[in-house]
Amino acid sequence: MNIIVLVKQVPDTTAIKIDKETSTLIRVGVPNIINPDDLAAVEEALKLKERYGGKVTTITMGPPQAEAMLRELYALGVDDAYLLTDRRFAGSDTWATSRILSALIEELQFDLIIAGYQAIDGDTAQVGPQVAEFLDIPQVTHLHQIVGLDKHELVVVKQTDYELETLAVTLPALITVRREMNEPRFMNAFDLWNCFDKELHLKTFDDLKLELQHIGLAGSPTRVKKTYTRPVMTKAAKEVMEPEAAAKKIVDLLYPYMEVKNHG
C-alpha cells in the first residue's frame, strides 16, 4: 500500500513561556517540532506498511528548515519525503495550501493519504478535508482506530461526540487522525544513521501545475485582518481550609461552568 502522510512543522507550544510583565507569549527561541497529530499519522502509516507492505511518503510545505523534520521522519522509518518550498507559496491560507499539496499528490501514486486532524499552531482542521476535495476522493476524519484492509476498502472507526462509527471507505481515500490514537515509535539508529544521506525531493512552484493566482496571498480567500495575543490569565486564588470545605468550595466554583449531560 502506498501511503502519503501530510505533515507540518510547528512551534512546540508546550515550550512557549509567558512574559510575566506583559502577559504575552515569548515566541523567541521556541523549538520546532512535528505537529503531534501528524506524528500520529506517520505512526499509523508505518504500522499499515508493516502489516500490508508498501511505502510511506511524507509531504510538507514550509520554509527550508522543515527539512530537519523530514530527516527525523526518515529516522523513524519513512521511505520518501517531499518538501514544497517557495517564496511564492508564502501567505497561503488553508485553501491555497491544500491546492498546492494536491497539485503535488496528483503526480504521485497513492492508495491512502493520512493527515493529522489539525495543527497545534492554527487549529483549523481544514487542510486534510480540503485536499480530499481537491483530489475528489472520499474522506473520513477524526479516526479512533484503523481496523484494516478489506479488499479495496479500508475499515476504520470514526469518533463522534458520543459514538464510535465503523465505516468502510473505498481507496484511494484520505483519513485524518489524532494524537490520542497511538504512541509514536522512537527513531531507530539504522534509519537514523543514513537519514541525512537519503534523497529528499525539493519542489517549487515551477515543478507543479499551478497558477500564480491560486497560491499565496492571491489564492487565499481568507485574510488575517489582525492578530493579537490575548493577555494570559495567570492569577490563581490560594486559600487554606479543611478538605471537606475545600471540596465544597471547588464544586461551587466549577458548577456554573459544568454542562450536565444526559446521554444514552
Binding site: 539508529a189 539504522f190 537519514c195
Partner: protein, 373 residues
C-alpha cells in the same frame, strides 16, 4: 548532525522507557529482556559495526553516547550493551574470519543474539594469565574444560568469547580464544550472583565440562588469546568509562532538580553557598571525565593507540562516578538514603565501574607502564 540526532533519540528513549524500568529491575534483580529486545530493534546493539554485517555503520562515538545515555537512567542497561558490543561483537569483528563474521555479526547486531565474554576465573582475576581452563586439541575439534566466574550477560547470552589454555608450556602465548554457543553440550550457567549494584544485570559462573568446540570456532590464531583479550578490554574500558560518566551525569541531573525545589531555612537549598560549591565541583569533574572519555573515543575512531587514554578515562570516570553519586546522596539527605528516591542506586551501581574490566589498580599499572616504558 547524525550524532546530535542520535543523542536526541537516545535521550527520548532512555529518559522515558529505560528510566521507568530502572527502579523495578534493581529491586527485583530482574534482567530486562524486554529492553534488550527493544535495543536490538532500535539498532543500539549494533552501532559501531558496518551495515555489511547488519550493523548501523556508525562509529565508537555513537556507541559510547548510547552506553553513556542509557547509563544516565539505568546502569544495568548500560552494561548489557557494553558487554555485548565491546566484549563479544567487537572481538569477532576485529579478529574473526569472514565466515565467523557472517555467522554471528548480523545476529548480534540485530539483537537476535546477545553476547558475553569469559576470561575471569577464580584464580585468574587481575592476573588473567593464570588461566586454568584447558582446550585440548582432539583433531577436528577442541575439548574445553574449566570454570569462568563473574560473567556479565551470562544465562541470557547466546554467544560467549571463551579463553582457554591450548599449550601450558607457552605461557601467555599458550592461551587461545574461542566462540562458544550457549547450547553446546557440557556448557552450563551457574546461579545468578547477588550483587551490590547493577542488580538487573546477570552475573554468573560458566561451567565448561568437555565442551566440544569445532576448530572453525577458534577466534584468531592459536596462541593469540591473551593478545585478543587485552585488545578487547582496551575497547571495553571505554564502554565502562562511558557507563561511569553516565552514572555521574544521571545522579547529578536528578540532584540539581531536587536542590532547586527542596526548601530549608526558607530558601531552596541550592541558594546556599556550600551546595553551590558542591555543584560546581561535581560539574567540573563530570566535564573533565567527558574530555578524557571522548579523547579515548577519538583515539579509537581515528586509528591511534587508545590503550593509555582508555585506561585513564576508565580510572577517572569510575572514580568520579562514585564520588558524585556519594555527594548527591548527601545533598538529598534522608531522602537520598531511601531507595524509592533512586539516588542511592547510583552509588551502588557506580562502585562496580572501579572493579570490572580491569580494576582501577590495573588501569594505574597500564598508564604507568606506558609512561615508564
Amino acid at each position: 548532525m547524525k550524532h546530535e540526532l542520535l543523542i536526541k533519540m537516545l535521550e527520548s528513549y532512555a529518559s522515558t522507557v529505560v528510566k521507568s524500568r530502572a527502579h523495578t529491575i534493581d529491586e527485583e534483580e530482574r534482567f530486562p529482556l524486554e529492553t534488550v529486545k527493544e535495543l536490538g530493534r532500535y539498532g543500539l546493539l549494533g552501532l559501531p559495526f558496518p551495515t555489511k554485517w547488519g550493523g548501523v555503520g556508525a562509529d565508537t562515538k555513537a556507541y559510547i553516547d548510547a552506553v553513556r545515555i542509557l547509563s544516565k537512567y539505568c546502569a544495568t542497561t548500560g552494561v548489557i550493551v557494553s558487554a555485548h558490543t565491546s566484549l563479544c561483537s567487537h572481538p569477532i569483528f576485529a579478529f574473526g574470519t569472514e565466515s565467523q563474521k557472517e555467522k554471528y555479526l548480523p545476529k548480534l547486531n540485530s539483537g537476535q543474539f546477545l553476547g558475553a565474554f569469559g576470561l575471569t576465573e577464580a584464580g585468574a582475576g587481575t592476573d588473567a594469565s593464570q588461566q586454568q581452563t584447558k582446550a585440548i586439541d582432539r583433531g577436528d575439534y577442541y575439548e574445553i574444560t574449566g570454570n569462568k566466574i563473574f560473567i556479565t550477560n551470562a544465562g541470557y547470552a547466546d554467544v560467549y568469547i571463551i579463553f582457554a589454555v591450548t599449550d601450558q608450556s607457552l605461557g601467555l602465548k599458550g592461551i587461545s580464544a574461542f566462540i562458544v554457543e550457549k547450547d553446546s553440550d557440557g556448557f552450563t550457567v551457574g546461579p545468578k550472583e547477588k550483587k551490590m549494584g547493577i542488580r538487573g544485570s546477570s552475573t554468573c559462573e560458566l561451567v565448561l565440562q568437555k565442551v566440544k568446540v569445532p576448530k572453525t570456532q577458534l577466534l584468531g590464531k592459536v596462541g593469540e588469546g591473551f593478545k585478543i583479550a587485552m585488545a578487547t578490554l582496551d575497547g571495553g574500558r571505554i564502554g565502562i568509562a562511558a557507563q561511569a560518566l553516565g552514572i555521574a551525569e544521571g545522579a547529578f541531573e536528578r540532584t540539581v532538580e531536587y536542590i532547586k525545589k527542596r526548601t530549608q531555612f526558607g530558601r531552596p537549598i541550592s541558594a546556599f553557598q556550600y551546595t553551590q560549591f558542591m555543584v560546581a565541583e561535581m560539574k567540573t569533574k563530570i566535564e573533565a571525565g567527558r574530555l578524557l572519555l571522548y579523547k579515548a573515543v577519538s583515539d579509537k575512531d581515528e586509528g591511534r593507540s587508545y590503550t593509555e587514554s582508555a585506561a585513564m578515562a576508565k580510572l577517572y570516570c569510575s572514580r568520579i562516578a562514585v564520588e558524585v553519586a556519594d555527594q548527591c546522596i548527601q545533598l538529598l539527605g534522608g531522602y537520598g538514603y531511601i531507595r524509592d528516591y533512586e539516588i542511592e542506586r547510583y552509588l551502588r551501581d557506580a562502585k562496580i565501574t572501579e572493579i570490572y574490566e580491569g580494576t582501577s589498580e590495573v588501569q594505574r599499572m597500564v598508564i604507568a607502564g606506558k609512561v615508564l616504558k
